[in-house]
Each structure stands twice: as C-alpha cells, then as structure tokens.
C-alpha cells in the first residue's frame, strides 16, 4: 500500500525525493506501481567520458517515456566494478539501473582477483542498449587494403612488426589475432586511442585494434582505414566492412554491448517495464542515428536473451583473459 499522498509524489525536486524516502521506509511499493520514485541511472565512468555521454542520452530519452525523473549518478572506479557492486546491493525495485557495458562487467569477473560480485548471478539484464565492434585499423597510406594482405605482410615482418592498442578489449583482440594467424608483432600500449595517431601516420605501428569512435572519426577524416570488425556479424552502421572471420581470420570474436542492469531479484514486471521503455527509445530513428554516430547499432533484446548473452560473455572472457596473458588484479 502506498500511503504517501498523491500530491507529494508529484512535487519536483527535494520534496519528491523526501516523499520517495518516506514511501521506501513505510512500505514496499508493489511492482505494478513501478516507478514510485526517481530512477537512478548509474554510470561507471566519470562525467564527460564516452560512457557518460551514452548514459545521459538514454536518461534524457527514457525520462519522457517513463514519465519520471531520471537522475544520472557517476560512481567511478575499479573499471566499473564500484558501480556494479553498488547496483547489485541496491534494493531490487528497478529504481537503481546500471547502464554500462555488460561485456566489460563480464570481463571484470576474470580481470579481478576478487570480483566484488558474481556478475551473471547478482545482476539481471533488463534491456540492451547498443552493440559495438572493435576494428582492425591501418594508416590511410598503408599498402594493406585487406586483412588477408595485412596478415601475409605481418608474417613476413616477424617481430619487427608493431601494433597499437589502448585498452583491454584491444589487447585481447591483438593477442587473439596473433594466436590465430601465428604472427609475432610487438604490442605498443597507448593510454588513449588518440595518442596512437601520430605513430600510425609515421608508420611506427603497422596496425592497431581500436575502438569504433576513434576508428570512425579518423577514417572519415582520411587518416586511417578500417579493415575488419571484431563482431560475429557485420554492423548495420558499417555494412560494407567485413567481419574478421569473413576476411580470413576466424576465431577472433569480440563484442562490446551496453545494457541496462538491475539487481537480481527485481520483480519480473518491473524488469519488463524497463525493457519496454528502453526498446521503445532504441526503436526511434534518433537513437539509431545517435548510436550509429559512435559506431554502434541499437541492441533490442529481451531480458532473457540479454541474460543468456551476459552468461556467455562471463564464460568467454575467462578464455580471453588467459589468451592475452593478463594477470588478474
């Protein structure tokens, strides 16, 4: 039973927050009343990061659909795990939603010695957000036009070849590519993808495994060229770009996907409601255009399929981390 007066709930700002707090203390809101208070979207990266831009966009678009205030809260640290733990321990009522790369949370299960949560058990996927590939890139002036040409040339070059990466996914993709093809290129690590641009241009690195935002902007500017995407299927945003398997390197598969995650044990009707909201936003042209501009496709899925993919990624990353020789922290 909701005993807070209706007018209190409609007040904006602190009054609503207070009312919400009163509700939470006095009685559990029933699932069909959801949402009964402001909704919090947790963001695992600082304000202003790429992830933050995405979370704030979704918050902006879900707000009118949910007809509720949606607040973005940045809980930064430990590669997204602090926000993941915060969400997992939150009340399972759908008012705390972690909008983050589910693939990264899955990866963290093996990148950390003591992961604070059991990702696929403690978190429930409510909805998908996007799917993003990683790209195999070469400089625009590079002689290699296809992945097969690059692979053949790198086999020739042996350990004189170098490649760029700027994060864990790029590192894993680089290692998997080397293992599948047997090439011996040396990894050059960069703090951000942008730091690598001068080294691409001057030929210091022969190729790189880069994120789609970086890849797209510099391909359009005519400085770099994309050879293949790391996903199992081609991207709608880039239909002309082959997958690595199509380009002759099977067995390298890496997908980044953002999702809306809620604590396990959140009532099914609440999860369904969230799913409906997100899918409604993702179906708009505006959302498609927004996600495409960052090199991704909208990811419309059910909570069940999302959870299955989540479990698969937790399993896959165990192999990825071992393959890349990353020592858990």
């Amino acid at each position: 039973m909701n005993i807070a007066p209706k007018w209190l709930l409609h007040c904006a700002g602190p009054a609503a927050a207070l009312a919400a707090a009163v509700c939470a203390m006095t009685t559990d809101a029933r699932a069909q009343d959801y949402p009964t208070q402001d909704i919090r979207f947790m963001c695992g990266f600082p304000a202003g990061s790429g992830a933050d831009v995405l979370v704030r966009y979704m918050a902006e678009k879900v707000r009118p659909v949910a007809n509720r205030t949606v607040i973005v809260e940045n809980k930064v640290g430990a590669a997204g795990n602090i926000a993941a733990e915060h969400t997992a321990r939150a009340k399972p009522d759908g008012h705390t939603v972690y909008v983050h790369a589910a693939s990264a949370i899955a990866a963290n299960m093996h990148l950390f010695k003591k992961p604070p949560i059991d990702a696929a058990k403690d978190l429930q996927i409510a909805a998908g957000v996007n799917k993003q590939p990683f790209m195999v890139m070469v400089a625009a002036g590079s002689p290699y036009k296809t992945l097969a040409e690059l692979t053949a040339a790198m086999k020739q070059k042996g350990d004189k070849a170098s490649y760029a990466q700027s994060n864990t996914s790029g590192k894993v993709m680089g290692e998997l590519y080397k293992q599948v093809t047997g090439i011996k290129a040396v990894e050059v690590a960069y703090r951000t993808a942008n730091d690598s641009l001068n080294d691409f241009a001057s030929g210091v690195v022969d190729y790189g495994m880069m994120d789609p935002v970086f890849a797209l902007s510099h391909t359009r500017a005519g400085r770099l060229r994309m050879l293949a995407v790391s996903t199992a299927e081609r991207m709608q945003a880039l239909p002309e770009l082959p997958t690595m398997a199509e380009a002759g390197v099977p067995g390298v598969e890496l997908l980044t996907w953002f999702a809306a995650m809620v604590p396990a044990g959140t009532p099914k009707p609440v999860v369904e409601t969230l799913n409906k909201w997100f899918n409604q936003v993702l179906a708009t042209d505006d959302a498609k255009k927004f996600l495409n501009s960052f090199g991704g496709d909208p990811f419309i899925t059910t909570p069940e399929d999302g959870q299955a993919l989540f479990r698969k990624h937790v399993k896959d990353w165990e192999g990825h981390v071992r393959a890349a020789g990353i020592e858990p922290q």
């Binding site: 304000a47 930064v76 430990a78 050059v188 942008n194 080294d199 902007s217 500017a221």
Partner: protein, 501 residues
Amino acid sequence: MGFDLFQNLATGFGAAVSLKNLGFALIGCLLGTLIGVLPGIGPIPTIAMLLPITFGLDPLSSLIMLAGIYYGAQYGGSTTSILVNIPGEAASIVTCIDGHQMAKQGRAGAALAVAALGSFFAGCVGTVFIAAFGPPLAAIAQEFNSPDYFSLMVLGLVTAVILAHGSVIKAIGMVLVGLLLGLVGTDVNSGLTRYTFGISELWDGIDFVPLVIGMFGIVEIIRNLERSTLPRAQFSARLKDLWPSRKDFDASWRAVLRGTALGSLLGILPGGGAVLAAFASYTLEKKVAKDPSRFGNGAIEGVAGPESANNAASQTSFIPLLTLGLPSNAIMALMMGAMIIQGIQPGSAVMTKRPDLFWGMVASMWIGNLMLLVINLPLIGIWVRLLSVPYRLLYPAILLFCVIGIYSTNTNIAQLVLCAAFAVFGYVLLRFGCEPAPLVLGFILGPLMEENLRRSLVISRGDPMVFIERPISAILLAATVAVIALIVLPQFRKTREEAFQ
C-alpha cells in the same frame, strides 16, 4: 593568405554575432566563471551535465556555449588562486604563487585586473593565431612522436626546479615525490596496478582535485588559523587600489607578451599544454627579471605572464581538435563528443564543409573573451570586498565549497579521505620549507614522461639512441642540458642563493 584570413573571420563573425549566439556565449561565460570560482568544481562535470541540453540546440550555439564555459572556468580559476590560494584548475596553480602574495599585501585588485587584462590580450592573440596558423601548426604537432614527448616532459620537469624559491635539493625532492604519486594506479604498458595497497579507489590513480585542494587550499587555511590573531586582509575600496598602477602596467606588459607567445605555441601540443605553458612562463619571467627575489613575494609579472600563457594555450588547444579531430585534453574530448552528437566530424573537413561553423567558433572565442573581460572587471571590486569578510566566517565557507567540489567529481568518499591526507602531508612539507608547486608539476608530467619513455623503447626495441636520432627530441634534450647547466653553474647558484636569503 591575409585576405583569406579576413574573409574567414568575417564569415565567422557573421555566424557568431546573432542575438541567440551572443546569448549562449554569455550563458556559457557566466556559468564558467561561476564554476571556476567554486574550488574543485571544474569545467568537465559542468560541460558533461549540460551536454544533453545541447542536443536540441543548433551545433554552433551549443559549441559556443560549451566553449564559453571552458574559458569562463579559466578566468574564474585565477580569481580563487589570487584571493584564497586555491587553484580552480591545474593551469592556475602558478598564479597562486605570486597572485596570493599580492592579495596578502592588499593588492588583490591589481592582481585580478592584470590577470583579466592579460588573459583577454592572450585570448585575442590566440584567436587570430588559430585563424592564421591553425592548419600548418597542427601539422607540426602531428610530427611529435613518443620520444619527442618524453624529451618535452624532461625539459618541463627540469624547469620545475627553477620554480621553487628555496633550496634546489628540496625542489628536486618535491619533483620526485610528485613523480611517485603520479605512478599510483594502473600501468598503461603492463595493465598491472602499482602502489595501490589493494585499495580499489586508487586503481585509476590519484585524482588531481583532492591533491591540489588538500596541498594548496586546506594547508593555506591551516596556516592562517594557526596564527594567534586571525589575518585581516588589508582592504581598500578606493578605486585607485583596485586598479593596477602605472608601475604595475610597466612591469607586466612584456610578461604578457612573452606569456602569450609561449602559451600559443605550447597549447597546440596535446596533453596539458595550458599547464606547461603557465609553468614555463613563470620560469621565463623569473629568469629575465632584474630582481628575481621579488618572485614568490608578490611580483606582478608572476601573475601577468602565466595567466596570459594559460589563456593563450587554452585557445590554441582548439587547433588540434578543429584541424585534426584530436582532442588535446579532457575538455576538448568532451567538445568532440558534442560535435559528433551534432553530426559533425571534427577535423579539417569541418573547415571546408562547414566554414560558418568553424569560423563561427573561432569568432565566438574572441567574443567570449571580450564578454569575460566585461563580466570580470566590474566583479573585481566585489571579489576584493570578499576578503574583508572576517576569516572566521570565510574559512568554513571555503572549506565547505572545497568538500562539495571534491565529492562532486565522482561522488566518492575516498576522495575526501585523500584530500585530508594531502592536507596533512602538505602541512608537513610547509613546515620543512618544501613547496608544493614542483610536486604538482611532477605529478602531472611524471606519468606522461614514463609512458612515453617506455613506449619509445618498445618501439625502438630497446635502443635509447632513439631520443637523440629524432631532431625534435634532440633539440628538447639539448635545451634540458642548458637548463641543468644554469642550475649547477656556480655563478648562477651564487646569485640564486643571494636572491633568496
């Protein structure tokens, strides 16, 4: 070329000078000044939170507003540096050194006015600089590879030693402590965490905001409170004292020119251009001054030079973004995000495909600088009056804003604990006569230096000759050797010691 320049600027002013765009420039500048004045609340979270609002605006208006926040914060940051010794952001740390001394001597008005005028002048030059030399300069920045960055950082760190006005040994010690603090967190090359003691809050490294607020702001408060009589800042509302004297102008105009030149050049380089520029300008002013002993005791050149330098650099740091699509710092990365959302791919194509947008933004930079001057000059009287508030009322307010600022960066209590630890550490350093400025420079440049050193050696497969073979790197290292020679030459040492005893 000359004709093109004027035609381009005309296009820009045509696009930027609409009532709507002027309005957005004003909103941006006001917001920026406000967040710049509040310690710890930086432009990055502000721009991030305003980003969704700009989705609905047209691209030029939204970029003008975001850019206004950026310059506004630069201006506002120097205000707190001068008044209460709390740098609003990294580039205004140097302003604290002499600016706050001036405020203590009752010359806060002069310091604020010189900072505002110097910044305005530098902003104007920076704008013309972008319009005239943007593309060719961007091409030079593109020539910088890892070894060159390493050598640049080495030069920056060595010059940091000159910054201090105590013993050279202590200054070197401080730079090294800064380097060590900078290494905390995840190592880029191996992906392993270092010096984190299993505390997950330290995995991403020590945040800049708690460090600076602890070591500068809180230490300053402790220092003021430990006096038996609380300081009453000399305060004079006479207009004469709010405005720089003839002598002040004479002393500072050359510093403004030199700072502007340095800042315009260093701003183009990605990664902390504005910070390096401010430090470099201070070093240069101290070197060329007839009487270097005045530095650290309220030398107006020590405010004029660095303030001009950091503002010129914050202007020219748009060059890599606008011409290459390369963000040179976190704020530029945000601006890039804003452009992508608007369907604009940052880079040279913007100049040819959307000249109104490109030149409109360049023109709006100048307009923004003018607005800031108009906003800030009348405010000087109010800021200075703030100092007449009894310190027992002022300090809890400052402390409160510091705490809010730190907490708001990522809503993590651990940051406040860090800040408290740095305040204690900073106080101990103060008692030992060690200055925090070289430490902060080491903290900022150290990780960049290490990263580029190791990357250079990976690329050269372990051959250190790579630092001498590349001409840019070789020149920078030669300059470093020259600076070291200046420090160790006995004659220099003598004058140095004379100067500071």
